[in-house]
C-alpha cells in the first residue's frame, strides 16, 4: 500500500442513459479520517457510494479500497472489512432487532458477542426483542448503523445516516460517529446534504455538485476560505467611496453599506479618523464574515468560483 | 372519480393489462387445442360446448387470477407504505371504492374478452347455426359476477394483510376447492363454486354408448338460489371489506 488512502477513486464515472450522474470523481479518503461527502440531493452521492460498495458498476474509472482494486474477484475480501448503511436502513420487519443482526452476523461470520456490543453502542439493547416493524424511523436507522458496525470493520460507509432522526437523535448519531475512529480505529466515509452536519462531524470534506467533485480537502482548509469584510455605513457614502478608491481598495456597495476586504486594524482606525475630519458621520463599522454556508452554496450552487 | 383516476395512474407500468391479456390468450390457446378437428356432432353442439367449457376453466383459473389482480392493485400501497398518506388525503371508504371499481373494470374487460374470443372461435370453426345470443349474454353477466365476487374477496384479503402470501395462498386454495367441487359434482354456495352454479349448459354422458349430449339446463329452485348467492357474496365482500379497510389502523 503506497498511500495512506483507504478509499481512492480514479475518474469514477457513472452514466445512466445520457445523463452522467457521477463524472470523473477522484476521491481520496485517508486512513483514520471522517470524510464528509457533501452535496445537494441528487448530486450523485449515493451513486458514488454504491459504486464503492460494488452495488453499482462504474461506467468508467476505477476504485481501490485499502489499496486493493474493487472488482468481482476481490469483492468478498473487501466487503469483509467494510460496513455500510446506504439510503434507508435495510431490515426484515417481521423479525426482532436482534434477529436482524443475527442474520448479518451470520453472513459476516463475526462473533456473536458483537451483537451485544453494537446494540449497546447504538443504545438499542432494551428494544432488542421488539419487532422492527414496531421500531420508529430513528430506531431503524440506529439498527442499520448497528448492522454496519458488526464485525467492527476498518471502513464504514454511511449514506445520510441522520435522515429521519429527531434533533436529539441527530446529535447522538453525530457524537457516536465522531467517537468511532478513536474507539475502534475505523475510517468513516459519511455523506450528507447538510453542511452544518459535516462541519460538526468530519475532519475531511469532499463536495460534489452535479456529479463532479468540486472541492476536496481538510475541513480546516475549507474554513480558511471563509473571508472577512468590513462593512461601513456613513452619512455621505459617495465621498467615503472616493476616499477608499484613492487608496486603491476594492469596494462594493450593498444597500447603504460600503464593503471592502478587511485589511488591518490600523488602516480602519486611520480611515475613521479621516472621515470624521471631513465631517462625515460614522453610523456603523462592522466586521462581516463569509460563512461556510456561503462557500458551500457557491460551490454547489450556480456560481462556479473556487 | 378523481380517486379512481389516480388509481389508474398508480398502476401505470405495472402491466396489469398485459398480465390479463396473457391470461385470456392462454385460455384461448386451451380452447383452440380442446376444440381442434371437430366432427359432425361436435360442430352441431359447438356453441353449447363453448359455454359448457368456459366455467370449468374459470373455476380453476379465476380464483388464483383474481388474487393476482387484487394483490397487484394493493401491493403497491404496502410496498410504498402509502396508506398513511392516502388516508389523510381521501376518506378510506372512497379509497376502497376506487380500488374496487378499478378492479371491476378489469374484471369486466376480462369477461367481455372471454366472450368475444368464444364467439370468434365459434365462427372460425363454422359451428352449426348461430350462437344463442340470449345464453351468451346471460353467461357474460354471470361470469362477470362470479369473477367480481372473487375479486372483492381477494381485494379484502390483500388490503388487510401486508404479507401477500396469505391472500395468494387463499386464492390458490380457492382454485383447488373449486376444482374439487367440480370434480365431485357438488354445486355449492361457496364463492369459489360460483362458476359451477352459474353453468347454463348441462352434460349427459351415456355410459354405454359413450355419447355426450349437451343441453341447456333447467334450474331447480335450489340451483337458482346458488346462482343468487353469487350476488350476495358480492355485497358481503364489498361491505365487509369496506368496513374493515375503513377501520384498519395504519
Amino acid at each position: 500500500m503506497s498511500t495512506q488512502n483507504l478509499v481512492e477513486t480514479h475518474n469514477l464515472t457513472k452514466q445512466y442513459g445520457k445523463i452522467r450522474c457521477v463524472n470523473s470523481v477522484n476521491m481520496q479518503v485517508t486512513s483514520g479520517a471522517i470524510y464528509g461527502f457533501l452535496g445537494p440531493n441528487g448530486a450523485g452521492k449515493s451513486t458514488t457510494l454504491k459504486m464503492i460498495l460494488g452495488l453499482a458498476r462504474p461506467t468508467d474509472g476505477n476504485i481501490t479500497l485499502f489499496g486493493i482494486p474493487v472488482n468481482e474477484k476481490n469483492r468478498i475480501k473487501l466487503l469483509t472489512q467494510t460496513g455500510s448503511l446506504i439510503e434507508s436502513p435495510s431490515y426484515y420487519g417481521h423479525l426482532s432487532g436482534e434477529e436482524n443482526l443475527r442474520i448479518i452476523q451470520t453472513l459476516k461470520g463475526c462473533s456473536a458477542k458483537d451483537i451485544d456490543e453494537v446494540l449497546k453502542i447504538v443504545r438499542l439493547d432494551s428494544a432488542r426483542h421488539k419487532l422492527v416493524n414496531h421500531y420508529s424511523l430513528g430506531m431503524k436507522q440506529r439498527l442499520g448503523l448497528a448492522a454496519a458496525l458488526l464485525g467492527f470493520p476498518r471502513l464504514l460507509i454511511l449514506d445520510e445516516p441522520t435522515n429521519g432522526l429527531d434533533p436529539a437523535g441527530i446529535q447522538e448519531m453525530r457524537e457516536l460517529i465522531r467517537s468511532l475512529p478513536g474507539a475502534y480505529g475505523m475510517t468513516i466515509l459519511v455523506s450528507s446534504h447538510l453542511l452544518s452536519e459535516i462541519d460538526q462531524m468530519a475532519d475531511h470534506v469532499g463536495i460534489i455538485r452535479q456529479g463532479e467533485l468540486v472541492y476536496q480537502n481538510t475541513l480546516a482548509s475549507l474554513h480558511s476560505h471563509a473571508k472577512s469584510q468590513i462593512a461601513l455605513r456613513v452619512s455621505h457614502t459617495a465621498i467615503a467611496a472616493d476616499l477608499l478608491r484613492e487608496d486603491g481598495i476594492d469596494i462594493s456597495l450593498e444597500e447603504d453599506y460600503l464593503l471592502f476586504p478587511m485589511i488591518d486594524d490600523a488602516y480602519v482606525a486611520n480611515l475613521c479618523r479621516r472621515l470624521i475630519v471631513q465631517n462625515i458621520s460614522l453610523y456603523r463599522v462592522e466586521k462581516r464574515e463569509t460563512s461556510l454556508e456561503d462557500i458551500f452554496l457557491s460551490l454547489t450552487g450556480k456560481e462556479t468560483s473556487l | 372519480m378523481i380517486t379512481l383516476k389516480t388509481e389508474f395512474q398508480k398502476i401505470k407500468r405495472r402491466k396489469i393489462g398485459l398480465t390479463m391479456s396473457v391470461l385470456i390468450s392462454v385460455q384461448f390457446a386451451w380452447f383452440l387445442w380442446a376444440t381442434k378437428n371437430p366432427d359432425e356432432k361436435e360442430l352441431a353442439q359447438g356453441w353449447m360446448n363453448l359455454l359448457y367449457t368456459l366455467p370449468l376453466l374459470n373455476v380453476i383459473m379465476m380464483p388464483t387470477f383474481m388474487s393476482v389482480l387484487a394483490s397487484r392493485l394493493s401491493d403497491l400501497e404496502h410496498k410504498g407504505n402509502t396508506y398513511k398518506q392516502l388516508k389523510t388525503l381521501r376518506r378510506p371508504g372512497i379509497l376502497f371504492d376506487a380500488k374496487a371499481i378499478c378492479g371491476l373494470l378489469f374484471v369486466a374487460a376480462i369477461s367481455i374478452g372471454q366472450m368475444l374470443f368464444l364467439l370468434i372461435l365459434g365462427y372460425c370453426h363454422h359451428y352449426t347455426g348461430n350462437p344463442d345470443m340470449h345464453y351468451y349474454a346471460l353467461s357474460l353477466i354471470l361470469n362477470f359476477a362470479c369473477c367480481l365476487a372473487l375479486y372483492l374477496l381477494q381485494l379484502d384479503l390483500s388490503l388487510l394483510f401486508f404479507n401477500q402470501m396469505i391472500p395468494l395462498v387463499i386464492g390458490l386454495c380457492g382454485s383447488l376447492l373449486g376444482l374439487i367441487l367440480m370434480y365431485i359434482k357438488m354445486y355449492s354456495f361457496l364463492p369459489w363454486g360460483g362458476f359451477l352454479s352459474c353453468t347454463l349448459v348441462g352434460m349427459d354422458w351415456n355410459i354405454e354408448t359413450r355419447v355426450v349430449t349437451l343441453f341447456y339446463r333447467e334450474h331447480s329452485i335450489i340451483e337458482y338460489c346458488a346462482m343468487g348467492m353469487v350476488f350476495i357474496w358480492i355485497i358481503v365482500f364489498y361491505t365487509t371489506g369496506r368496513i374493515a379497510f375503513t377501520r384498519k389502523e395504519v
Binding site: 460494488g54 469483509t80 435495510s90 | -
Partner: protein
C-alpha cells in the same frame, strides 16, 4: 459454520422465523387428499386399482396446478424479503459470494418443496389405510418420490428466477398456474418431459400411475433445466444493479 454456503443457508433460515408460510404446504395437500379420498370412496365401483386409483385421485390436480403455484408462492416470498425495506443493499454487501446467496435461497425453496412432497406421500399412505385398501403399498412409490423431487427442483429454479426478475409478488404465481395448465397440454402431446412445469407430474406419475416414463430422459432434462435456470439467476444477480434503483 465455516463455508459461505452454510452461512447463507443459516441466514435464510433466520429470515424465515416467525413467518408461518409453511402452513400453505401443509394445508393444500390436505384439501387435495381429503377430496381425493372422498371421490375415491364414492366412485369405488369404477376405480378398481386400489392404491394406484387413489394415487391419481390424490395427485392429479395437485401436481399439475397447485404444487407449481405453491412453490411459486414460496419463491416469491423468499425474494420479497429482499425486494422490500431496501434489503438488496444489505443482501448484496454481505461478504458472501453471490452464488452462495442464491444457493441459500434455492436450498430453502427445495427444502420446503421436499417437505411438501413427503407430506403428500404420508397423506397418501394414511388415507389409503383409512380408505381400507388391503393390498400392499406400491413399491414404485419410492421412484415416484425421487422423480417427483427432481421435478420439484426444476420448478423451484424456474420460479426463483421469475420472482427475482419480476418484482411483483403475484405475477410469478400466475405464471406458475399457467405453466401448470400448459404442462397438462404438453403431457397430453407426449412432450411432458421436455417442459419444465410438467416434469414434476411426469415424475410423480400424477396422471397415470402405470405410465412408463423414460427415467434417463427425465434426469437429463431436469438437470439441464436446473443448470440453465440457476445459472441465469446467478448471472442476473451479478450483472444487474438490483440495489441501484
Amino acid at each position: 459454520m465455516n463455508t459461505s454456503y452454510q452461512k447463507a443457508v443459516k441466514a435464510e433460515r433466520l429470515k424465515l422465523r416467525r413467518s408461518p408460510v409453511w402452513l400453505a404446504f401443509f394445508a393444500l395437500p390436505i384439501i387435495s387428499a381429503f377430496f381425493g379420498t372422498v371421490n375415491y370412496k364414492i366412485n369405488i365401483s369404477i376405480l378398481k386399482s386400489e392404491w394406484y386409483s387413489l394415487w391419481s385421485q390424490h395427485t392429479l390436480f395437485l401436481c399439475y396446478f397447485f404444487m407449481p403455484a405453491l412453490i411459486g408462492t414460496y419463491c416469491s416470498y423468499l425474494w420479497r424479503l429482499e425486494h422490500t425495506h431496501h434489503n438488496w443493499n444489505s443482501f448484496l454487501t454481505a461478504p458472501v459470494p453471490i452464488v452462495s446467496l442464491y444457493l441459500g435461497k434455492l436450498t430453502q425453496a427445495i427444502f420446503m418443496a421436499v417437505l411438501g412432497n413427503a407430506w403428500i406421500f404420508l397423506l397418501f399412505y394414511v388415507c389409503g389405510k383409512f380408505a381400507g385398501i388391503k393390498s400392499s403399498f406400491p413399491p414404485e412409490a419410492l421412484e415416484w418420490f425421487l422423480c417427483g423431487l427432481l421435478g420439484t427442483v426444476v420448478i423451484c429454479c424456474v420460479q426463483l428466477l421469475l420472482s427475482l426478475i419480476i418484482r411483483s409478488f403475484a405475477i410469478p404465481i400466475g405464471i406458475a398456474l399457467l405453466g401448470g395448465v400448459l404442462g397438462l397440454m404438453m403431457t397430453n402431446r407426449d412432450h411432458g418431459l421436455d417442459y419444465p412445469y410438467s416434469i414434476y407430474c411426469m415424475g410423480m406419475r400424477a396422471n397415470n400411475p402405470s405410465m412408463e416414463v423414460n427415467i434417463p430422459t427425465l434426469v437429463i432434462n431436469s438437470l439441464g433445466y436446473i443448470i440453465i435456470f440457476a445459472t441465469l439467476a446467478v448471472l442476473y444477480l451479478r450483472k444487474r444493479e438490483i440495489a441501484a434503483n
